[in-house]
């Protein structure tokens, strides 16, 4: 598979209150975005266990997005996003040790009012992952298992 007809698979873990509603608004507003991101809704990015991100890569994702509410103050639960803020850098370091490029993992903040920002992120991130090419982590892991 070469760069041109490669369609990356991206998993997005979005918090229910901010980025998920931004993604919803982006859809309702018919903002143009590639169909490469599959969204999994969580109530808060604080719920995102680093295992979920690893699992997504393990199952064949080429990129992962974790996005929630802007700190400070936007979080529906007060400080759930701060937990994310502390966990994600650790996860980033871990992913690099596994040989996963940091460009394949994005974590950040998009509020419910920022539908265009979400659409832009989907466009940019899809292109970024497309340029990196497929991760093939699943195949490699499976070949090692055999």
């Amino acid at each position: 598979m070469n760069g041109t007809d490669f369609e990356p698979r991206i998993v997005g873990f979005l918090c229910n209150w901010c980025t998920y509603s931004a993604a919803d608004t982006a859809g309702v507003s018919r903002l143009e975005q590639p169909p490469n991101v599959d969204i999994i809704r969580v109530m808060c990015t604080g719920r995102v266990d680093p295992v979920f991100v690893l699992k997504a890569f393990r199952e064949g994702a080429d990129g992962v997005i974790v996005s929630g509410c802007h700190p400070p103050g936007d979080c529906h639960y007060g400080e759930g996003n701060y937990k994310t803020f502390r966990r994600m850098p650790l996860l980033e370091a871990l992913l690099q040790q596994y040989g996963i490029e940091e460009e394949r993992f994005h974590w950040g903040w998009i509020s419910g009012a920022e539908a265009p920002k979400w659409a832009q992120l989907v466009r940019d991130f899809t292109e970024q992952v497309r340029e990196l090419g497929p991760l093939n982590w699943k195949r490699e892991l499976e070949s090692k298992e055999d």
């Binding site: 698979r9 998993v11 209150w17 901010c18 599959d38 999994i40 969580v42 109530m43 808060c44 604080g46 719920r47 995102v48 266990d49 680093p50 295992v51 979920f52 699992k55 997504a56 199952e59 064949g60 994702a61 509410c69 400070p72 103050g73 936007d74 529906h76 639960y77 007060g78 400080e79 759930g80 937990k83 966990r87 509020s111 419910g112 009012a113 920022e114 539908a115 699943k138």
Partner: protein, 610 residues
Amino acid sequence: MATLIIDGQEVHAEEGQTILEVARENGIEIPTLCSHPLLEPYGACRLCTVEVIRRGRSKLQTSCTHPAWDGLEVKTRSPAVIEARKTILELMLSRCPNVPVIQDLAREYGVTEPPFPAEDPDEKCILCGLCVRTCHELVKADVLHFAESGVERKVGPPFMEKTRQCIGCGACTIMCPTGAIEILLEDAEVYKEKPLGPTSAIWVPSMQAVPRVPVIDMDACIRFRQNDRTNGEIVDACGACQMLCEADAVNFEQEDEIIELDVGAIVVATGFEMWDPVQLSQYSYGRSPNIITGMEFERLSNAGGITGGEILTAEGKKPERVAIIHCVGSRDHNAHPYCSRICCMYSLKQAHLVRDKTDAEVYEFYMDMRTFGKAYEEFYERIQEEDVTFVRGRGAEVDVLPDGKLRVKGEDADLGRMVHADVDMVVLSTAIEAPHDADQVASLFGLSRSEDGFFAEAHPKLRPVETNTEGVFLAGTAQGPKDVPDTVGHAGAAASMTLALLDKGEVTISPQVAVVDEKLCSACKTCISLCPYTAISFIEEDNVARVNEALCKGCGTCVAACPAGAITARHFTDRQILAQIEGLFRLPAEETEAEAAVEVSVAEAEGVRS
């Protein structure tokens, strides 16, 4: 209680009252220039002279200073009194020949010409000392005094020089019966009246408010200013409102207080602010007093406003031409991209008011006329019949011409060319925007805000008054621009939502809560410090953590953190989420087959058609 006879009428007086006070209470008119009910009598102008007959002996006395003793007989219009007042007025008119109030009084007493030539025809001061007493007794600034004596006597500050003691309150100018005192606004210390703002320090913010209670502007009130200026040395300045209030309702001690309430529901109805048109300099707001906002126009045309409801330019004249510019700050990507929704209708109403109250020509510069409400279109049609000129196109620019006139430029999209109108007054229909501190209110109540800055409702169509925080509702323009009927409807909905919540007597909580599997819990207490709601407590006797389901909001932070994997988020369990991830990557094969099937059938169908 004393009984006396005034002009043949038997009247009663309280202890300590003067003849003038008793006469006024009984509707007997006595002319006077130097007396004021709030100030000590002084007997300077002598106009209140009356004939007082006591024990058969008659004397001319000033009624403002003479006590109303028992058994007095008073004549206020006897020939001797008239003659005395005439002499007084002749002398007054000789000193101040050009003061209207003296001219009128003199004419009333048959004096048309001053008997002596005036030394200074511009003299206005009659040396009654009302200003001196005001400054001393009320304002307590003691700026004004009498100086010199005899013919040299005059009133002014010490050595007739500027003094920092003067706070520029203007009480002396208001009190002066002959208009002899002028206030010159010089520096920031002097209170500058807002152009179309309140006209005094005590005022009623909204005449329609219930209860209609006045408030004191502490920045303008003489009492508070004197108190601030002297660091509390003068605490009892003025207080005229307190002295005059018969209900004894004025309370200077009142302060802001914080009241804590336990409530079950909150309605956020924090409203809007008017956008400041200074931000778009092409409208020249602030460069001419005749460029005003729609809100200022309302103040101008309000019967309780400074002009008594007359529509006048800053020069005090009726305007001959008025331009109203729509969408100033609305539907404009340099300000607010949204439509403020109320401006079209209030602009039309203001056009109607101008046509109704003056003969001015009215030009409405508009982009689109948004008459969305019930009977709004009909009102628009009515205004079209009132000879208002409608120019379709945003007013692009307002120029202040050298002669003070205003030139409004814009494109008339219907004619397809640039047009301009030279007018006397420009009304800018400015946008409404979220209050400047909406972000603080949002974080206080856990609200989110939509792109326009207003608070976001839980769902744009299905849950327009609820927010993402349970028990917090939105009403009115806090949620977005609304006109009055929409606001009332929205607020009614918010009120019934709160009633429905409170009436039930119990709260339905979300099933999305965390639960601890006590067999797996290792009692590390990691979760307890993470919970933003203190919903997790550690049960010492069982040596486990336990979640209070009524407090838990289901964010799942503890679930992700639990090293033992003992906490589960109901409806967002690890198994569910991991299965979703697995499911995502199992889909493509099936999808491709299905898509291929569709493609085949489409191709077949097309083949049949061709």
